[in-house]
Structure formats: C-alpha cells, structure tokens
C-alpha cells in the first residue's frame, strides 16, 4: 500500500480517485460555492494551498509527536486544531502583507476550516500509512482534483441556468445528479493509475 511513488499518488488523486467525486469530501462548500466559475476558482486555489500545508504539518505532528507520546486517540482533535489554527494564521498573514490577495481569497478562508476535504485528506493519509512525500503529494493532488471538479460543475451550473429543469429537481437535486454523471465520466480514468 505505501510503496507507491508520490507522482502516481498525485495523478491518481486528481483523476482516478478524485477526492470529491469518489470520496465525497468537501460537498458542503462544493454545493454552496459552485454557482460562479470565478468563485469556484478562488475557493479551489485556497483549498489547494491549505490542503498541502495542513497535510504536511499534520503528518509531522502525528509521526513525531503523537506516536512517541502514545496519544494517537487524540488525533482527531489535534488535526482539526491544527487546521483551524493554520487557517487563522494564513488569514492574518495574508491580510497584513497582501491586502489584494486578501480581498480575492479572504472570504473563502473561514469556509475552509469546516471544509471536510481538508480534514478528510489528513485523516486518510494516516489511514493509508503514507510517508511524508506521499502525504504531500496526496494533499496537493487532492486539492487540484477538488478544484477541477468544482470548476467543471460551476461551468455546467452557469450554462444550466438557461435550461428548463423540472420544478422538484431545481436547485440541489439537479446538481447532485450532474455530479453523479461527472463521477461516472471520471470513472473512465480508472485503470490509468492504481493506488
């Protein structure tokens, strides 16, 4: 399980096992922020950045602090605390040094703490026994895959506002169904890389 090259993990998490389309992580913000392509791109970029950094930090803390101390059962609370603190820190940092970036990214940052894709990536990398490089590749690929999915769906939703959707299906229902079709399309990549 854990001797795959980081490159394979990177490609696999983008296409064959996309974190959103096969692991269903980050659905809440996916449904809330996929109305406009611009918003989707902004949120996607923020997710990539935070996911890479938090998987790296969390991996280090788990391996070098929690295991030696024998307190792995506190892992959940440590992981979410690291993510919340990191997001808060990035927000302050960006606000101080690049107000322009803060305005572009700022509104998305608080949303990211409760984006389960971030916590999910950290939990999954430990479950799958990844080493440091594999974990970072997993975080990076997961972020890119998430952004790819949300941008594609945002594009479809913009087009869809011109179509005549049956009334009960309007809103979330139809988005779920097109996401399902998208997931089927991504299944076509299966077999390209195995993880």
């Amino acid at each position: 399980m854990s001797d795959i090259s980081p490159w394979a993990i990177l490609i696999a998490t983008i296409f064959t096992s996309n974190i959103l389309l096969t692991n269903f992580l980050g659905m809440c913000s996916f449904l809330a922020c996929s109305r406009q392509v611009d918003t989707a791109v902004g949120l996607g970029a923020a997710v990539i950045f935070v996911m890479v950094c938090t998987t790296a930090i969390n991996w280090w803390i788990y391996t070098h602090a929690l295991i030696p101390l024998g307190i792995e059962h506190l892992w959940f609370i440590v992981a979410i605390a690291v993510i919340a603190a990191f997001v808060q820190f990035v927000e302050m940092f960006v606000e101080r040094f690049s107000p322009k970036l803060y305005h572009a990214l700022g509104i998305f940052l608080p949303l990211i703490t409760v984006n389960c894709a971030i916590l999910g990536a950290s939990l999954l990398m430990i479950t799958r026994n990844y080493d440091f490089h594999q974990s970072v590749a997993f975080g990076f690929g997961g972020g890119i895959g998430w952004m790819l999915a949300i941008v594609l769906i945002a594009g479809l939703r913009q087009k869809m506002s011109y179509s005549d959707v049956p009334r009960p299906f309007q809103g979330v229902a139809i988005v779920m169904i097109i996401t399902g079709i998208m997931a089927m399309i991504f299944m076509g990549f299966a077999g390209m890389v195995k993880i």
């Binding site: 809440c28 449904l31 409760v114 999954l124 009960p168 299906f169 779920m176």
Partner: protein
C-alpha cells in the same frame, strides 16, 4: 449556514414538539438545508453502515448540543467556534473509541468518516444556531430531532443503494442476483460513487415534490 432556519414560520423559537417537527421534516438537515452531505453519500453503500453512521451523528449532535448549551453563558463570544469544535471533537472521539472497542469491523468500514463528523455542518450548525441561544433540555431535543432527520434520509439512500446495487438489505438477500443463479441483474453503479450522487439527487427531488418546495416565488433560487 443556518440563516434560513427561521423562515419557516418561526419554529426555531418553538419548544418541544415543534422543535422535533422542525428538525425531522420542515427543515430536514440533509434534504432542505443540504448539510452533512459528505457522509450521507459516502457511507450509504449498505443499510447497516447508514444506520451506524446515523446513530453516531445523533449521539454527537445530542451530546454537543447539551454541552454547548450548558456552557453558553460562560463561553466568550470570540472563541465560541473553537469551544464548539473542541466539544464536538470530544464526542466524536468517544464514539470512535466505542466503535473500535465493540464493533471493530464496522469502524474499519466507516473509515475516516466517523472522524469527519467533526466537520459535519449539521452538528456545528445546530450548536451555533440553536444550542447557543436555548436551554439544555430543548437543545438536546433539537439535536435528537436533527439526528432523526438525518437518519431518515441516510437510511432511505442506504435502502435503495443496497437493494438495487446488491439485491440485499442488512446483508440479507432479498432479490437473488444473476451471479448467484437468481434473476436480478446487479446494478453495480448504485454501489459505486455515481450511484450515491444520483440516488440522493432523486431523493431530494422527491422530498421537494412531496413538501411542495420550489414553489414559483422561490424559483430563482437555482
């Protein structure tokens, strides 16, 4: 995430029965507010998984609502989010350890999704929107109601996915599949990821149809 609760006739202020009704049906957390979708999709491959996950969420929701509500007067406004997350994470850890101790196979199957209850917006949303303003008993009831609302949707999705995908319910064969020499050709897509999205999409549409949501004046919502 929860501003729209009070649009439905001010039921948030209601007590007892109305709190229950709001959580279970009128503002059903999954179908109407579209919260907690990740786990609703991921663990519903079988009915049993759905049920255990629902119990986990109900447990965490009741417990965290109780404690957030008990501590609501002494929690400083600024750090309330961190306090809520810490309370929720504690309950999730308790349930995770219980599951590992008494039902290890299930904990293997649910994988990281038990841990992900921490970021489940239902729990956080109820703590933030309800427990912070209401006394402990009603808050517990609200947690229970939302847990039951979540359970109904999850079990419905799990029911259809397991039945159509494997011809089974709770692991007991209902329709014998072609592979076993029966008549039912398995629809594997229902077990795989796309089936989850599509089943939930249709269930939400069914809910909208039954409850008459999406009426003309809300049409612009999509």
């Amino acid at each position: 995430m929860s501003d729209n609760h009070c649009n439905h006739g001010g039921l948030c202020g209601g007590k007892g029965k109305e709190t229950l009704k709001a959580g279970v049906w009128i503002t059903n957390p999954v179908a109407i507010q579209v919260l907690g979708i990740c786990s609703a999709l991921a663990v519903t491959t079988t009915l049993m998984n759905s049920l255990v996950m629902s119990i986990a969420l109900t447990f965490v929701c009741v417990g965290s609502n109780l404690f957030v509500s008990l501590l609501r007067d002494i929690t400083p406004r600024r750090i309330r989010m961190i306090a809520e997350v810490a309370i929720i994470a504690t309950f999730v850890i308790v349930f995770d350890l219980l599951l590992k101790a008494f039902y290890f196979e299930m904990s293997e199957q649910l994988g990281p999704y038990v841990g992900l209850i921490i970021t489940n917006c239902i729990v956080m949303g109820r703590a933030e929107a309800f427990a912070l303003q209401n006394p402990p008993t009603v808050s517990m009831l609200d947690g229970l109601a939302n847990g039951v609302g979540y359970t109904i949707v999850l079990c419905a999705v799990g029911f259809f996915r397991e039945l159509f995908g494997a011809g089974q319910l709770f692991g007991i064969t209902i329709w014998r599949t072609v592979a076993d020499g029966g008549w039912y050709p398995q629809n594997v897509v229902m077990i795989l990821a796309p089936g989850a999205f599509i089943s939930l999409g249709f269930l939400i549409a069914l809910y909208n149809w039954l409850s008459g949501a999406n009426d003309p004046d809300k049409e612009a919502a999509s």
